[in-house]
């Protein structure tokens, strides 16, 4: 008997008697004998809780996390501080263990949290309509492209090369099903090239949507408004993937004329967790309300006129509309989105701005310090908020990263795999956890690593083991 079940031998006998069968095996009579496994699964034996904990602890100890090194890794997920109250609230069983709120009378807490979350996302993006969450960032970009297909049915999706490589690849994967053609618009001086965009738009009759990212993958703040206007000029949708923390200080997608704003929500009170679970947010103009994917909570009244919340506009959804649904999404990321709204409430109206401005100042400081290193130049000169791109004049950036890692500093994400046009590229990300002292340490370690690579010194041993 496992510790998670409670049927004793006596229970089983009594239950089998009540059912009218002699053994549990009889309950599986419909499984043809030829299809029975007939042997135990080839898996290790079960273990006691203490043993499982030790095994998992040993595995986790073999990872080098942001707890163990000074990490400037970003590129889509960031090492922000998660306030203790989020851990405490998310561990409440009332939030942790219910299913999707199909019975609103006993799900008012979760539904109200969704409603509050939708409000926060709407405020952040400057768009009136938000759903209750999608899976995460790149698949949210894919979901936005699907909305665009439902909206105008055109075939060609233009995507800036400043959009996260994972988002661009996700778009191409999904395009196999939607039949959309994905066309990249190149960058110039670190931002989406308006001339190349104009050329790609052409007469625009078949352009479905333009997809941008703010700030873009190279950290640059895009001037969204003229780009969105160019898309609208040919009747295409303007979609933007956004990092939510910079949205606290940047012109909102709504103000810039963006139709659909999506993004990765990890930075809003969620852990890194090696890439998930986090959540994706999805906001849009009113015109797209009935094309939105996923759950939406709405306010209403109960039979006695009391205030309450329900899942609403469900005729968009798969369980009602089936093959005509606006999305197949069912289980989404409710708990992670809850962390998101708690985090935004923790920051508050002023805190979000203070955090954004702190990032701008520290990132500017880091940019100056790092660009002053011999053999390093900024990859672009555009305004940045929390992430900056450098060009290292070395044969192999990966070796520079290894040298830094050996000194306990992870200097960032090498760009060469995703941007072969920038073989010396390095993307350096900051959060409020990266202090001036840590930035100075990065500057020192990176300067020595680059100098050593440029002088052809041996790579230090022992990296990675």
């Amino acid at each position: 008997m496992t510790v998670y079940t409670s049927a004793t031998d006596a229970d089983r006998r009594a239950m089998l008697d009540a059912i009218g069968v002699a053994s549990v095996d009889e309950l599986f009579a419909d499984v043809p004998p030829a299809l029975r496994l007939g042997r135990p699964l080839a898996l290790p034996d079960g273990m006691a809780e203490q043993e499982v904990y030790e095994h998992l602890r040993e595995l986790a100890a073999r990872n080098v996390s942001a707890e163990d090194e000074i990490s400037f890794l970003g590129a889509g997920m960031y090492d922000h501080y998660v306030p203790a109250l989020i851990d405490s609230i998310l561990q409440r069983s009332e939030f942790l263990t219910p299913y999707t709120p199909y019975q609103p009378e006993v799900s008012q807490g979760g539904l109200q949290a969704m409603f509050e979350y939708q409000t926060a996302i709407s405020e952040l993006t400057g768009l009136p309509v938000s759903n209750a969450s999608v899976y995460e960032g790149p698949s949210a970009v894919g979901a936005a492209a699907y909305l665009a297909k439902l909206a105008n049915g055109r075939a060609r999706v233009l995507v800036s090369r400043g959009v996260h490589p994972h988002s661009r690849e996700t778009l191409r994967t999904l395009a196999a099903g939607t039949g959309q053609e994905i066309v990249e618009v190149p960058l110039r001086d670190g931002v989406t090239d308006p001339d190349a965009l104009a050329a790609a738009l052409g007469d625009g009759a078949d352009v479905n949507a333009l997809i941008l990212q703010q700030p873009n993958f190279l950290g640059a703040v895009e001037d969204l408004e003229p780009l969105a206007a160019a898309a609208h000029g040919v009747g295409a949708l303007a979609i933007c993937a956004c990092d939510p923390i910079p949205l606290g200080i940047l012109r909102t997608p709504g103000e810039c004329g963006i139709d659909v704003a999506v993004g990765e929500g990890q930075t809003l009170g969620n852990r890194l967790d090696f890439g998930g679970p986090s959540f994706g947010f999805f906001a849009a103009t009113e015109a797209h309300l009935r094309r939105m994917p996923g759950r939406i909570a709405g306010e209403t009244k109960d039979a006695d006129g009391r205030r309450g919340f329900v899942l609403t506009l469900q005729t968009r959804e798969q369980h009602i509309r089936r093959e005509k649904a606006t999305s197949n999404i069912c289980t989404s990321q409710a708990l992670n989105a809850l962390a998101g709204v708690i985090y935004l409430s923790w920051l508050g109206r002023r805190g979000l701005v203070e955090l954004g401005e702190l990032l701008v100042q520290r990132t500017a400081y880091a940019r100056d310090a790092l660009a002053a290193i011999d053999g390093i130049a900024p990859l672009h000169e555009q305004p940045v908020v929390r992430e900056l791109a450098l060009e290292l004049d070395v044969p192999d950036v990966a070796r520079v990263v290894e040298r830094c890692a050996a000194e306990g500093v992870n200097p960032g994400y090498p760009l060469a795999r995703d941007y072969p046009e920038h073989p010396g590229g390095l993307l350096v990300a900051l959060t409020e956890r990266r202090t001036r002292e840590q930035i100075d340490r990065l500057t020192d370690v990176l300067a020595r690593a680059v100098a050593a690579e440029r002088s052809g010194a041996e790579t230090p041993a022992g990296v990675g083991a």
Binding site: G46, M47, G76, M77, G137, G177, L250, G276, A334
Partner: protein, 522 residues
């Protein structure tokens, strides 16, 4: 509940901290307020770290034209107020740790507490997804082990952990099917789904660019083989199937179904929503399925979180493997016989590509892996056997209590881990609908089963007790259902008006949809 204070008129206090003297009456009740309505200008829970670098004029760093005109109108609350607000609204939820939750097709089994502890270890929680694989060996080994385990449970050799939920796994599976056919130079147009399928199946088919063709159900609850034969042609790319199906029945004709589907060159897709019935007993791969998705938030105990997160890994056969999403976790054996190492393989030329960022919902993998290591092979089989035993026992109890007359089982056979009752006689003879029964159950502190699914059964009630419930809990549930039916025979109005003891009563969903209020007006 009578103790519940009504909310303030027109939805609570003025938003955004606008000041108005509350009346005495308003002070005496505790209204339902949103976090925005608790906001008062000047309060705060967050203190920013000190600016430790020389301050530069913001305009110089970020031109005003790129900055937002006004701050986002987020709440202004202190930490104690913030904690009290979310603790307060949490208590307006029913949850699995507090009571019975027999929600069919959702497998609401106990979520062990250990899992939260191991997922929160800093080596997991603060591990960046782009960390060099050589410095994420523990995480990659865990993922590898989980892949191998799921492959063994599915009876299919290759696994991708990437999809984020069941429906995401379905989409991966149908796109894999498309890639498989196109690689063979074929362009097929249709995907078959039974009329008992989950709604995600047809929705997925559309997103993957295929036409949905429904296959009928035979009188015994299985796939109608004649209908399947008639519809299976060389334009069919795939049949998506759940087995046991959504009626809770194991389709004994599965080998023949596989023969028909493979006979026209199509793939057979296994929706793993009901895997909890068969772990260690029979395997989708051995039944002839080519692609399987798992719901780690069902059979493998990821807490459901009020609507996620989950994870939807897929297992596939040899012929589908080349098309699996990128990157794949791989194990490398060094030539010198040293210990193996783990890596991410991004170079997969035939891959369908990525379905999302990074490697998947790793935090979910940690919990499900811990579960599998706790149970082991014998424990997983016991979990399935007990789930099926509990379902059949509950069904027997319901029959014995005399419930069957008004709430008969839709297909009177031995069920698997869940079963479907039909409320049609209850509606006809007692004047209450399945919805009313469900709402009345709330008054007994029981979460209702899934209602009105599968669509095939009139007034359906889909009951899945799971293996983690005690015999006593099942007995209490049966007694409650019987009592509600007796009560309805006397006075159907009680159920029609239920629930009456919850914090709110039935909510006006039509109003919510007709005049959507989906954000706080500020």
């Amino acid at each position: 509940m009578s103790a519940q204070a009504p909310s303030a008129p027109d939805g609570g206090a003025p938003a955004g901290g606008a000041e108005r003297e509350p009346t005495t009456d308003e002070l005496l009740v505790e209204p339902v307020l949103t976090i925005y309505e608790r906001s008062r200008e000047g309060r705060r829970a967050f203190a920013a770290p000190a600016l430790d670098v020389p301050a530069r004029p913001l305009d110089e760093l970020l031109p005003p034209a790129l900055r937002r005109a006004a701050p986002a109108r987020l709440p202004e609350v202190s930490e104690p107020e913030l904690v009290r607000h979310y603790n307060g609204i949490s208590k307006r939820n029913f949850d699995l740790d507090s009571g019975f939750y027999p929600l069919g097709s959702c497998t609401m089994k106990h979520n062990p507490k250990l899992h939260e502890r191991v997922a929160a270890l800093p080596g997991n929680a603060r591990l960046h997804p782009l960390q060099d694989p050589r410095r994420a060996q523990g995480a990659l080994e865990l993922m590898w082990n989980l892949q191998e385990t799921l492959a063994e449970i599915a009876g299919l050799p290759y696994v991708s952990l990437q999809p984020s939920a069941g429906s995401h796994g379905e989409l991966a599976g149908v796109l894999l099917t498309r890639a498989y056919h196109e690689d063979r130079g074929e362009r097929r147009t249709k995907v078959l789904t039974p009329d008992t399928a989950h709604g995600t199946n047809p929705a997925t088919v559309t997103m993957a660019g295929y036409e949905v063709v429904k296959v009928g159900t035979a009188p015994d609850g299985g796939v109608d083989l004649d209908d399947l034969r008639a519809k299976a042609d060389d334009q069919v790319a795939c049949l998506m199937l759940t087995n046991p199906n959504t009626l809770g029945l194991f389709d004994a004709n599965i080998a023949e179904i596989a023969r028909i589907v493979h006979g026209v060159g199509a793939t057979l897709y296994y929706d793993g929503a009901n895997l909890n019935a068969i772990m260690g007993i029979t395997r989708p791969g051995d039944m002839g399925f080519d692609i399987v998705h798992f719901n780690l938030h069902k059979s493998f105990t990821q807490p459901h979180g009020g609507g996620g997160p989950g994870a939807g890994p897929i297992a596939v056969s040899e012929r589908i493997e080349p098309f699996l999403p990128r990157p794949q976790v791989v194990r490398r054996e060094p030539a010198d016989g040293g210990p193996p190492s783990f890596d991410l393989d991004h170079e997969r030329p035939k891959s369908i590509g990525k379905l999302r960022g990074f490697q998947g919902n790793y935090g979910v993998f940690v919990r499900s892996y811990a579960y599998i290591r706790s149970l082991g092979a014998a424990g997983l089989r016991e979990a399935s056997e007990t789930a099926v035993l509990n379902a059949n026992y509950l069904l027997a109890l319901l029959k014995r209590a005399g419930v069957a007359e008004h709430l008969p089982v839709a297909y009177d056979r031995v069920c698997m881990h869940e079963f479907v009752l039909s409320g049609a006689p209850m509606r006809r003879e007692l004047g209450i609908r399945t919805l009313d029964l469900a709402k009345r159950l709330l008054d007994f502190k029981v979460h209702p089963p899934t209602v009105y699914f599968p669509l095939l059964v009139d007034e359906a009630l889909l009951v899945e007790p799971t293996e983690t419930e005690t015999k006593e809990t099942l007995e209490r549930f049966a007694a409650i259902v019987a009592a509600i039916l007796r009560e309805a025979a006397d006075d159907p109005e009680i159920a029609r008006q239920a629930p009456s003891t919850t914090l709110v009563r039935r909510l006006d969903e039509a109003k919510a949809a007709k005049q959507p209020v989906i954000r706080q007006p500020l």
